[in-house]
Amino acid sequence: MRYERPTTLQAASQLLAKEKGSAYVLAGGTDLLVRLRTGFIEPDLIVDIKRIASTRTIAKTATGFKIGAAVSGAELGENAALKKAWPGVVEAANLIGSKQVQGRATMTGNLCNASPAADSVPALVAAAAKVVIAGPKGKRTIPVEQVPVGPGKTSLKKGEIIEAILLPKRPARSGDAYLRFIPRTEMDIAVVGVGVSLTLDAKGIVTAARVSLGAVAPTVLLVPAAAKAIIGTKLDAKALDALAAAASAACKPIDDKRGTKDYRIKVAGVLAKRAAKIAQQRAGGK
C-alpha cells in the first residue's frame, strides 16, 4: 500500500485516475481505516486529501456555504453562522459517532461511504445540497442525492473526488431539522432518519419544502410527495397526517436486526411529522 498526500485537486485526481490497483480517498478516515484494518479492503493506494487547502474550510459565499470535503463534524459544530443557517444539517452530522469520531469524520465521507443509514445525508438532501466534484476532465456539480447509487456504491467515476458540499443561501423564515430513531441515546446507526427543510411566508404558510428519508431504502430518498403534502399549509394536523402517509408510502425498507419493514414504515411517518414541526419552529412559525 502506498500513501500519497497531494496538495492540489488536479494532482489527487491524477493519482487516482492513473492507479491500476485499488485506490481510496482518505479524509477523516473513520470508515476507511475500519475497513482497512478489518481486511475488508486492500488498497494499493491511499490518497489523503487533507493537504488540499480547499477541502479544509467552511466558506460563506454569495450563494450560501461551501463546506470542504475534509471538514470534520466538530468543525461544523463550532461554526456559528453555519449552525444558524442550517441547524438540521449540523445536528445530523454531529449525531455520527462519538466525540472522538466527530474530531475526524466528515459529511463528504458519510456521503461517499454510501450507507443507506448515513445520518448527514437525509439532512443534506432536504437542504438541496450539491457537491462539487473534481476529476480528470475538470469540475462538475451535482445534487447530493445523485452521489449514492446503492449501499456502498457512488456515481463517482475513476479519478473523481468530491471537493466540497454546497449549501444554498437561506430565504427568510426558513428552517431545517433531522431526526433519527435509534434504540439507544447515541452511538448507534439509524433505524429510520428523516430530514425536513422548509420555508414559510409571512402568514406562516409553507411555501417550499423538501423531505428526505434515510435507512428505509437502498439509498437515501428524496420524497416530493411528502413535501407536496405540507406546501400551502400551516402544518395543521391534517397536513401532518398527509405528510406522514406520504413518507410512509415512499419507504422500501428491509427487515434487519435494527428494525422490521413495518416498523420502519410506521416510524418514518412519525419522525417526518416531528421533524417538520421542529423545522417550522426554527423558521419562526408556530
Binding site: M1, R5, G29, T30, V34, R37, S72, V101
Partner: protein, 158 residues
Amino acid sequence: MSSIKVSTTINGDPTEYVCEADETLLDVLRNRLGLTGAKEGCSTGDCGACSVTIDGRLTCSCLVLGAEMDGAEIGTIEGMASGEKLHPLQKKFIEHAALQCGICTPGFLIAAKSLLDHNPKPTETEVRFALAGNLCRCTGYDKIVRAVMDTAAEMRRA
C-alpha cells in the same frame, strides 16, 4: 513497501519516526515510540481506549494513519501529568476508585480532559455524552462520571 518519514510533536517534544503506509498512529505510538499508554481495544473507533488529541482535537488513534501525522501536534496520556505531579483528573480517578483493570482509563482521562478544556462546568448529562465514545467493562460509569464532575468543581475553585 516504502517507509515514510514523519516529523511531529508529541506532548510538546519534537519527535521523528519512520512508519509504513498502513500503520495506524496507535501502532506507531505503542510499537515504535514505546508510548504504551494508549490501548488497543476494538481497533474500530468504538471503545475509545486509544484516545489521543491531534492538534487539540480528541481522536481515536486507531482510526488515524501514522503517515498522516507530519506536522501535527499529538497529545497522549504520557503528557498528562507534569513530572510526578498528577493532573487533577488523575487524582480524582484514584480518589473515586474510578477504575478497576485500567485498560480504559487512559482513554477516559484524555476524553475527560478534552471535555473540561472546552467546558469547565459540564452537567452530568454533558459528561455522559462527552464520554460516550469510551467504554468501560468493569467499573461501570458512575464512578468515572463522579470523578469528572468532582474534578470540574475542584478546578473551578482553584
